[in-house]
Subunit: 203 residues, 4 copies
DNA sequence: AATGAATGAGTGTTCATTCAT
DNA sequence: AATGAATGAACACTCATTCAT
């Protein structure tokens, strides 16, 4: 019975993993359900015992991935309180997570943006949450006098996400390996330097 | 005869424009060739007189768009020589172009990232050229003593592209209107502040 | 043990009833076995312990229903002997049965006619028995001098069945409620009038 | 060009004919679109150039068939005015049409009643028109004093349709050949005898 | 050059039936 | 006896591409 329960769980997860793998390789529209099923080692129909539709599989995988990220950040925020360190931590986890699950990173870099609207709109929610997280940190830093007050928290947040996302994307496409900690440090070095109070640009 | 040649040119361009429009609206995989043909006011088969395949249409459209961007930047670099102003100019044109051709911007934000490998890999070339352009500017600034030398030109270049691209992406998804000049100024304000010499972060 | 046997019987019948219900609602081809199982409160697989196939369930249900009808008529024929009254009785039971088990009536009016040959051909047997029953009554009436001898017993039998069946069908489709006794009387009024001896039509 | 137009018309009709044939043989739900296409000698996809859906093919075929019937009756009613002869004519055309297009007759006897609700409900409209046609004739006969006034025109109409329909059905299933004129005469003989004025049944 | 009818391979999803538990 | 997870064949419909006109 324990075996049965385990096997149930296992199959659900196997389908999710297979989907991420196959879709990362070929793209959502070029990944027939039958290919996902084959990779997972189940029959085509079995997918529909665990998921409502092909879309549902992808949605679930993305959801889970983002939630893990979000969860991890929130937990650590209880011990890390300095806004600069918080931003650094977000960048690190962002890059780390993607290193750990390369397929999911590819998938996020490709499908998530793509015009399969159902996914794009849905995954936009996650992005919004990410951006909000960063904006709050920045506003806190501004009110503490750490960050310049003459830059928009929204713009900075988008810049930070965009910069890291682009580095990831580039690494994904070129297959380059990077060190999450070092890379995060470099990006934040520039960014923090740019927004730290008392160094306003005279343009 | 002149009319015939003109009409040829015209039809070729009409198909490209129609493709960008339709694909921006519905996504590549949800845009039948027949829909593109209808929008262009030609028969389905006619598309294949001008292009090898559906892919080829999209590829050509993206090529043309990027080349226009690249051309414009290179031309202006003959009169703008200060590295800081050059970066600002790139950012402005990047945002401007996307404002001017909203459909192409949508398409770039969605399809281009998509794992339809043929496009993703292909459009990566354009990105590489963009990044190289920026890196050269940064290295020039570093050798002139304007920019800090302790940051990687590659990372900064990716950050700059990523930041702008993400702002665009966000604007595209939310339908928000932005002012290209102001937005470019804000991003560059942070970035230049972050990499300007003599302000090294003490982390 | 008695309980077990009862439960066996019970489950068998529950499946039959559920099948008639579900199929009457959605049609044979739109009624998954799983829906029948759910309605019967058993597992999908259980159905195959009692029946050979989905077809078999429907066949059995129709068989039972017709046999009840046939049985009832034969029993009553021991006390009703006048051919005219016998025909009236058949018509009444035909309509009555369908009123009492509306779902079965719907099912007979729809699935039974359907070209799912296995059913159509099979249920044709029942119709043949019905027609023969009526023909015998008519021939008896003819030999007793009650009915005209210049009309084919076969044709009259088909007419009678067809007339009643069509009234039923119409009632089923429109959802109209009818009074079995009155309706039977009206049909037989016309029919008996038409075949009663001494009133030959002069056409 | 004439050939092209003819071929167009031809293909449309070939698909309709093939559909009626195949569906008459196997039933709607057991007739894959591919089988219809094969019978018509076209590719599967071609069906969808001429019809919106599989349903649409069947609907169109039934529509055309009934409309031919209805048309023929209405035309002849301009020269036949006696209610008795009108009823006889309807019966004859009903049986004739079905003899001429045996497949359509089978199809009407099977699919049309079937719980594929989309068809059942749709074809019900045709039946209603048929019944109304007959009812009007009967009411005219009643007001002219030819037919008894103590029987419901609706019930008689349903009886007439049901009787003929059942004879047809029986012939279809058994493969029996019948003579439309003779059969119609026999049914009407009974029916007219039953409803002719001055012969009220004394029940 | 231009057309658009025709093709047929390809895909998401359903469901009757089986079988290990 | 009973379950229900698993199977995989089947099917309606779409669409990129071709080619006769």
């Amino acid at each position: 019975m324990a075996a049965s329960a385990a096997s149930l769980k296992e199959k659900y997860q196997r389908i999710l993993d297979a989907a991420v793998e196959v879709i990362a390789e070929n793209g959502y529209f070029n990944s027939p359900v039958s290919a996902i099923a084959a990779r997972a080692g189940v029959a085509d129909g079995t997918i529909y015992l665990y998921f409502k539709s092909k879309d549902d599989v992808l949605r679930t995988a993305i959801d889970a991935s983002f939630n893990r990220f979000h969860q991890q950040v929130l937990e650590q925020f209880e011990t890390i309180t300095d806004p600069r360190e918080q931003l650094l931590y977000i960048a690190q986890v962002h890059l780390d997570t993607s290193t750990a699950d390369r397929n999911m990173a590819i998938l996020m870099q490709t499908e998530v943006r793509q015009s399969a609207r159902f996914i794009a709109e849905f995954s936009h929610h996650h992005l919004v949450k990410y951006i909000q997280l960063v904006r709050e940190v920045i506003r806190r830093g501004q009110s503490q006098g750490i960050f310049r007050k003459d830059v928009s928290d929204g713009i900075v947040a988008h810049c930070m996400f965009g910069a890291i996302d682009e580095l990831l994307s580039s690494a994904v496409f070129t297959g380059r390996i990077y060190d999450a900690k070092t890379t995060a440090a470099q990006v934040l070095n520039v960014l923090l330097n740019g927004i730290t109070s008392g160094r306003e640009h005279a343009s």
